[in-house]
């Protein structure tokens, strides 16, 4: 196996150091390490070294919508974005609600070789919110599922949600809730606010998210289980999660990069590339989310990478699908909104994009397959090298994802993933897939 000697990388933004990656682990860290026989030397002056990123929320679309994305194209996009593990959401066709489907996705991930794919299991059969899927069987399967979500749909029935929270305690699972009160959001097209009123698009009110989160943190506390809140998008949701955490309840939350940067003002163009669920909110929400991510109220950044073929976006707003691709721009958006603004340092980025998400899903155990581990000797060599000085316009034609529905086309974003290592093997070098 190739060994790598990374010269002068700033680990977590610290002083330049050399790292030797050998036999899948970080073999040495120090100053002035000499290249050994067989070492490929990577010059990393000015680059930041972070632990391989972990995405809690990725739509890989396979099986069923291979026209939008496959496990292979999605994991290639993940590697280009600096990720070494992604969690594949369950809303595929068929739905990942059985051991068979989650094992298929898990196996496709292993075969891809670009990053680890940890399947998320559906909470209910067919995401219909009526009957629990075989959560225990998925947990016991080769895929070892621990995160369960009906993402795309909310587990809105309070009894089903309560039972799911209780049931997964038996195997250390967590319910990741897509918080959206369905009746308040029937036919909803965008954030309900000043802009929706002017544009005549039906609103998706913040209260539809907040009321579900409020209910669920109370349920999680009542039954003593773990709740994870997907893609938090409003200032009010942040307040509820902050309150729940202050009570000591086992609640975690994620925010997407796009909710850290974009607002519903963009919808004025009626360009469906800005159509996403939960919708883009207001400037006040964006600022509250940044603050919450910085202070740890929100634990993790998760992409909600949602590829769609062009025909699902090249149409009128109401007919368009919801979702944005995000794997290949996530770190850049986090740098722009959190690092360049002074809200967080690179060590915090490692926390929010690697250590915490891995801990939430339980894939951070010590050992050769651990993800989100510290950048230390004898740990798995999952690393990403970032050039924070880079600045350039986003060009979707260069993406590795099969889809092009990015809201950042042509937008200048800072930072560039120069290299990604998965257990000591380069998946990206010089910004290109290996």
């Amino acid at each position: 196996m190739t060994s790598y000697l990374i010269k002068n990388a700033r680990v977590l933004g610290g002083e330049p150091q050399d790292l030797r990656l050998k036999d899948g682990v970080i073999a040495e860290i120090g100053a002035g390490l000499a290249a050994a026989d067989g070492d490929t030397v990577v010059q990393a002056e000015g680059l930041i070294a972070l632990p391989g990123l972990v995405d809690l929320h990725t739509h890989l679309r396979e099986p069923g919508r291979e026209d939008a994305e496959t496990v292979l194209t999605g994991t290639r996009a993940a590697a280009r974005g600096g990720f070494t593990a992604v969690h594949a959401m369950a809303n595929t066709f068929p739905v990942a609600d059985t051991a068979g489907v989650v094992e298929q996705v898990w196996r496709l991930g292993r075969e891809s070789g670009y990053c680890d794919v940890q399947p998320v299991g559906a909470v209910t059969i067919g995401l219909e919110g009526k009957q629990l899927a075989e959560l225990g069987t998925m947990a016991d399967s080769a895929a070892s599922v621990r995160v369960f979500s009906d993402d795309g749909k909310c587990v809105d029935d309070a009894v089903i949600m309560r039972r799911a929270l209780e049931y997964v305690k038996a195997f250390g699972g967590v319910i990741a809730q897509h918080a959206q009160e369905p009746r308040l959001t029937e036919g909803a097209q965008m954030n309900e606010g000043t802009v929706s009123g002017e544009l005549g698009l039906r609103g998706w009110p913040a209260v539809a998210e907040e009321s579900i989160i409020a209910r669920d943190v109370l349920l999680a506390a009542h039954v003593g289980s773990r709740l994870h809140v997907c893609h938090v998008s409003t200032a009010g949701s942040v307040e509820i999660i902050r309150w729940a955490k202050s009570k000591g309840w086992d609640v975690t939350a994620e925010v997407t990069p796009h909710h850290l940067l974009l607002t519903d003002e963009l919808v004025r163009s009626y360009d469906p590339v800005y159509k996403v669920n939960p919708p883009l909110r207001t400037e006040a929400d964006v600022l509250a989310l940044r603050e919450a991510l910085a202070d740890g109220t929100i634990d993790a950044v998760a992409t909600d990478h949602a590829p769609h073929p062009s025909e699902d976006k090249d149409c009128e707003w109401a007919a368009a699908a919801m979702g944005m691709v995000g794997l290949e721009t996530a770190l850049s958006v986090v740098q722009q909104t959190m690092v360049d603004t002074g809200l967080m340092g690179w060590a915090d980025v490692a926390q929010r994009m690697s250590h915490r998400p891995a801990a939430i899903s339980g894939i951070n155990q010590a050992g050769p397959t651990g993800q989100g581990r510290p950048v230390s000797v004898d740990e798995p060599a999952n690393l990403v090298l970032v050039d924070p000085a880079y600045r350039g316009a986003v060009n979707p034609d260069s993406f590795a994802t099969r889809s092009r529905n990015t809201p950042y086309r042509g937008r200048d974003l800072p930072g560039r993933v120069v290299a990604t290592f998965l257990r000591g093997r380069a998946t990206v070098l010089d910004g290109e897939l290996v």
Binding site: E311, E316, A319
Partner: protein, 346 residues
């Protein structure tokens, strides 16, 4: 607003007055024995209607024919649209057929803007009503009607006139277009509706809001009643049709509270007995039928200004409305053709 008419928010005061004044001249044409101008001869205008609307479609068609345009009616029903063809493919088809202008009615808010800003189609786009967003020609004909009654004369606006719009504002594209245009023209607009039918964020609109129709009527120079669809009742916007009519319907007793000069308007189609009593709809102060007539004049003016009403040579087709002919000589400068083939193919 330069090449397209998508929203009344795109019209500044000069644009709006130019359209109203041009419509006055167009109105004279409609009184002649031969109601026809050669202005748009050889130009193709497509009426692309994804929603049923006999009234608006017919009004545009009459306007187009009076300007001698070649008119194509493309309705979603019975066409390939009902077989799943997308807006994009429909637009590409119309472009390939050489449409100079597309008048579009669509159930999705923003569809005309999408059409205008895409590269699917190069002609002018006129919004004939999109979802719950806008219906700019309706607002223009309403303003035209108001001006004739409340401040008649070319070049005049609606400064200080008090306009009350009553009913289902939430779902009304007519109300949105009217609020923007009437504000531009200097009018003071008050929306009256039950709170459930007032859009979220209305505080930022350039108008007042009241829940009390009786308090507003005596201070109204014009009152516009919006249609209230009965199915709104099932979505809990209000308890019963009866209660709605009692609180927000315009009956004879309420109408008596209006100042003597005040007019009663309705964009149609009306639900008689629901938002407006028959005796008021048919009364002398009702302008409902007149609005239909004025609709033709306004649509003639808009199409004329978008497609044919500029002094050639033009720097680009984008200059038409604002860079158009001076207000009172519009007709005399009318030409059947003012753009070259080269410009069309941009």
């Amino acid at each position: 607003m330069k090449r397209h008419l998508i929203s009344t928010a795109d019209l500044d005061l000069d644009d709006a007055l130019l359209i109203l004044d041009t419509a006055e001249e167009m109105a004279q044409v409609s009184t002649r024995a031969v109601k026809k101008l050669p202005t748009l001869r050889g130009r193709t205008v497509v009426n692309l209607f994804f929603e049923d609307s006999t009234r608006t479609r017919t009004s545009f068609e009459v306007a187009e024919k009076r300007l001698s345009a070649d008119v194509i009616n493309f309705s979603a029903k019975g066409s390939s649209v009902s077989k799943g063809e997308t807006l994009k493919d429909t637009a590409l088809t119309l472009q390939a057929m050489g449409a100079d202008a597309v008048v579009i009615r669509h159930g999705a808010s923003g569809a005309p803007k999408r059409l205008a800003e895409s590269d699917w189609l190069h002609g002018s786009v006129v919004n004939a009503g999109d979802g719950t967003h806008e219906h700019p020609t309706q607002a223009l004909l309403d303003a035209f009607t108001m001006r004739r009654h409340l401040n008649p004369g070319l070049g005049r606006d609606l400064d200080g006139r008090r306009i009350t719009i009553v009913g289902d504002v939430l779902h009304s594209r007519v109300a949105r277009s009217n609020v923007r245009l009437l504000h531009t023209l200097g009018a003071e607009v008050t929306l009256v509706a039950p709170p459930t039918l007032v859009p979220y964020g209305v505080e930022s609109w350039p108008c007042a809001v009241s829940y009390d129709l009786d308090a507003v009527l005596p201070k109204s120079d014009a009152v516009m009643m919006l249609r209230v669809q009965r199915e709104r009742m099932n979505a809990a916007f209000f308890p019963t049709q009866r209660e709605y009519s009692l609180r927000y319907g315009l009956d004879a007793k309420r109408a008596a509270a209006l100042p003597e000069h005040a007019i009663v308007m309705h964009p149609g189609p009306m639900v008689r007995g629901m938002e407006i009593a028959s005796e008021i709809a048919d009364s002398a102060r009702s302008t409902i039928v007149e609005q239909v007539t004025n609709g033709v004049s306004i649509r003639m003016a808009v199409l004329y200004l978008l497609l044919g009403g500029s002094e050639p040579p033009l720097p680009s087709p984008a200059a038409t409305l604002a860079g158009g002919a001076s207000r009172h000589t519009a007709l005399s400068t009318a030409r059947p053709e003012s753009r070259t083939t080269e410009e069309h193919s941009k």
